[in-house]
Symmetry: C2
Subunit: 617 residues, 2 copies
């Protein structure tokens, strides 16, 4: 621990394994150190220190009684304080090495321990940094007459790799209930040949541990996982704890559901809305231990099949205590498992889920579109206290969310929202292919639902898989590559917003923890017209001096600009370039220059030290 | 508890007795309330609610099993949901009174309790508000040939009352040791007739429970206490836990002191300085229980003699655990006892002492003289978090502190420091008569010691006790009267600094908790020249509208000014008026005007509510 002044101390430790780490703080007084410190002052003042040397020898002998390992050497040192020439005795008394050993041998009653244990949860890198791609495997077939299969997903992997994604998240892959099955666009009474919603989990073919037969077999799935890994892509599954009326648990464990006085099971409702195709699990059932255990077992089945990432559906509608137990229990055995919370709920509940163990969380990014709200919200997400417990995953769209901003939007709006998500967030995701194909038609009832949503029907996307593809796909691939090549973009921390004198331009930088990688992004929020303005860069945040000449290398266009100072002209035509993503490098970055700069930099102002009154005894 | 939105809640409770109050927070879910809420929506949507009424009746009957008192009425109410006309049954189901009773009958497993207990320490009013006057009783005699006595102090009471003080704090009144007694101006070897320092406590005449014979007897002291109370003045004593070598404890309990290997007792030192006249107590002695108990008993002796306020000498040189135990133990029996910590130490230690029980604390006010440092420091002391646990007592001088600012100072400097202390702090004190007599001669060794300090000799002050007295005494009396008449000055909270365009003028307001008393103070920090400037008042802080005409009544000069808006001219000639102490009153303070103003005031901006995604089940 190192003293910061004014009785504040700082300490750090390195974590070397994933999992939970506990720590606390202990402190103690160091009478020998105090004695030695005073002795120096007595000697300097020319005082007789004969009795003090005896005091020190006594402390050494008392300490020797508290240690086996050092007992002999401490006793021997005590003798040195009492025997030999005056100089030898003083020198022995002031020996710094002995003082250091004595410091670490406190009498036990002197030790104060902070009574709380503090925790650090350590995850592997993908918890912090990754680009997600969500898809419905049943739509993976390009043949309009065929339901998609895991093999189609395997065939789609090179495409997803070409876009540069790290995680492939699949909508639920389990058997789909038939009772009250929903038809296209969520119409209540489906034809028998309608496929239903994959979130209505469970049929006579099985429940959460089973696979929808039309997608393939367990063996097919177990081929998909390594195939994806081979492309550098990890598979994430949906973990949606709800049942269709046909789920095996309904017959096997009726006590896990809530019953009405007429004997029926209470289906999901948000009065007056009714969701007859879904039975919520009753987490408060008297048989809760068995139910919670079964939910835990479901996860372990998929972990055994090679899955290490779960996107959790609506976690806020289940008890906090359940998640706290479940996540800790699973991570105790598999510290590499990650959980993304679909916590589209109120802020304090979203935060609570993060605190009790979720690795990442969805958040309000989809609805933050204006300059000020983006600056404020992303600053909140990337600075303490929030960044200490919550890792945001930024999604411009999901199967449930075609925002007003993207409804009927043209390519620039998609490109802008993409650049924002991928450069503001170390973790982000898109729901494709609708995103990269710029699907923009809403169901039209004022909701954020897609028209002909894959949630209720199989779609067959026409993907131009030849090299290149659409400009948006080129941008996605380019930005994902830039993310991998620039460590600054791999952390939520290190984000800083800079002034730019246009309400339609957003300007921000990210700096790597080592401060050796600096990325500056300028995004236009105007999807229609060219916007321009002058930046007012906070150069200190960028590690630059006021007068320093630096290079701004636009990683999207490969243009290089030589800039000096904080005021620089930027102009963005949304139809040509949605954003600048600059890597900044100082032109005079030599060791000499850096040393010089460090010396010139004003030190952080010292904390004001109170004038203390000289203490009288 | 009332909801503030976004899952934040607020609750308050009134404390009605001095002492410690424990509290925590419990919360639970209210399934009946949720059911009733949903039922309303179902009814509005015209749904069949037959089965829901049975659900509600079931909940009522289950709750009846949890309560004796309400069991019958709940069961009867359950029947009302099942019998009677449709309208009667619905009306019974929606009955808000029953819902309220059900809310307070949670199943025990639904109740979450915040696991920590929180504490509020409640003290009587004098803990928050009071003007202190410190004196050496031995100097209370105006006869230069006579040592002061308690009777002289009694004779001095009308004078102290005329100055308007609430607390009379006496320097230690115990027998003074003879060994290594200090002479005038702290010279080491005193003559036998020198009186010594009253902080060198204990002689053959007794220790901390005894009275210095020259001051009088226990009976004399027991006359002083009620005599002071009769004048509205409370006696405070010094609690200085240290002993002269002649203290009875040295012989009776040698184990309470630290011994050197040569058998001698370790006297107080701050190497290389030596204080041979003082033996510190060894709070870490193996016999610590007996020592701590004896220190506690000392307090109780003086409590029995009528004392309820103790000024604690150098508490930071004794263990935190000792104070935590001592104060809690004493206050458990005597919740009206107050402790002022002479904690002239580092900020975190000063704060820690406040947190572990001290009622009030000395602080760095004596050394805060410039505008910015006064604004910053007093804002720190009067706002959370500090104001939550620390009550500052502001002293412009003490027997140990004649600040550089006051050394050789003229009357304006004394007047300015006085007004600052008495109007910035709800509690403040002066060390008199040196303060009101404007003693300004330092010992001259660069220290803050007074020349011919009462700490080492008896002084005989010439007090002009006729009506009026010096201008400084008139000011003291006037300001203390103003403090009693203006509730705003009786709280540390409610302080706000306003802009004034002169670096030598300080401008601040205090507003009472009820916001019905507003005092505005302008003090010059220049003790030599006239200073003037324009204020830029934060009118909202003063409860005034932008365009409002208000009266500024100078309570020192009785001048009345009609002001409008925040910009007002102020001028202070330090030799004529050290400060303005205005009471502000709105000219149009009628009920109508107030209502109007309230309606006009912009509301606090609403917390941003996230756009939450509509939840799917």
């Amino acid at each position: 621990m190192s003293a910061l002044g004014n009785d504040r101390w700082r300490a750090s430790f390195e974590v070397e394994a994933a999992g939970w780490h506990r720590y606390t703080v202990e402190g103690w007084t160091d009478p020998y150190g105090t004695w030695r410190h005073d002795l120096e002052k007595r000697i300097d003042a020319g005082q007789d220190v004969e009795v003090e040397l005896a005091v020190g020898a006594g402390m050494l002998r008392a300490a020797a009684d508290r240690t086996k390992r050092l007992a002999r050497s401490l006793r021997a040192h005590a003798e040195k304080l009492e025997e030999g020439s005056h100089e030898e005795r003083l020198s022995a008394a002031l020996d710094p090495g002995v003082a250091e050993r004595m410091r670490d041998l406190p009498e036990s009653w002197r030790v104060s321990r902070y009574p709380q244990e503090l925790f650090v949860q350590v995850d592997r890198e993908r918890a912090r940094f990754g680009a997600w791609y969500e898809m419905f495997p049943r739509s993976a077939s390009e043949d309009p007459d065929r339901h998609g299969t895991f093999d189609d997903v395997i065939a789609r992997l090179p495409y997803i790799k070409s876009l540069g994604f790290d995680v492939l998240y699949l909508a639920p892959i389990h058997p789909i209930g038939r009772a009250f099955r929903k038809g296209p666009n969520n119409v209540p009474d489906a034809d028998p040949d309608h496929v239903g919603s994959p979130w209505a989990i469970g049929s006579e073919e099985g429940g959460h541990e089973a696979i929808h037969p039309e997608l393939g077999s367990v063996e097919d799935f177990e081929r998909l996982v390594p195939a994806a890994n081979g492309e550098g892509i990890e598979i994430a599954l949906d973990y949606a704890l709800q049942c269709s009326p046909d789920h095996p648990w309904v017959k096997e464990h009726p006590e896990w559901f809530r019953h009405l006085p007429d004997g029926s099971i209470r289906y999901a409702e948000n009065p007056p809305k009714k969701y007859q195709d879904i039975y919520p699990l009753d987490f408060e059932t008297e048989d809760w231990r068995a139910l919670w255990r079964a939910c835990n077992d479901v996860l372990r089945v998929w972990i055994d099949r090679g899955v290490r990432i779960f996107r959790v559906d609506n976690p806020h509608t289940k008890p906090f205590a359940f998640w706290e137990w479940l996540i800790a229990d699973v991570k105790a055995d598999y510290p590499d498992v990650l959980f993304l919370a679909e916590a589209f709920t109120r802020p304090r509940r979203l935060e609570r889920l993060a605190k009790l163990g979720f690795t990442q969380s969805y958040n309000y990014f989809p609805w933050r579109n204006e300059k000020l709200e983006l600056e404020q919200y992303l600053t909140e997400l990337s600075t303490p206290p929030v960044v200490e417990y919550l890792r945001a995953n930024l999604w411009p769209n999901t199967p449930d969310i075609l925002t007003a901003k993207l409804q009927h939007a043209s390519q620039p709006a998609f490109a802008q929202r993409f650049v924002l998500a991928a450069t503001l967030g170390a973790s982000y995701g898109i729901y494709g292919p609708p995103f990269e194909l710029m699907e923009n038609a809403p169901r039209g009832d004022g909701s954020e639902e897609y028209l002909d949503s894959e949630k209720y029907q199989v779609r067959h996307w026409k993907l131009e898989t030849s090299a290149g593809g659409s400009p948006l796909r080129q941008l996605i691939a380019q930005v994902n590559r830039i993310r991998h090549e620039n460590r600054a973009l791999q952390f939520d921390r290190g984000l800083h917003f800079h002034s730019v004198d246009s309400p339609q331009l957003l300007c921000y930088s990210k700096v790597s923890p080592e401060r050796d990688n600096v990325v500056l992004v300028v995004v236009s929020l105007d999807a229609h017209w060219t916007q321009s303005g002058f930046t007012d860069l906070a150069l200190g945040e960028l590690g630059l001096d006021d007068d320093e000449v630096f290079e701004a290398h636009d990683l999207l266009t490969d243009h290089r600009f030589t800039w000096q100072g904080g005021r620089n002209y930027v102009e963005l035509d949304p139809w040509r370039v949605p954003a600048h993503v600059f890597r900044l490098t100082s032109s005079r970055r030599s060791e000499d220059a850096r040393t010089e700069r460090r010396n010139e930099q004003p030190h952080e102002p010292a904390r004001p030290q109170p004038e203390t009154h000289p203490e009288e005894p």
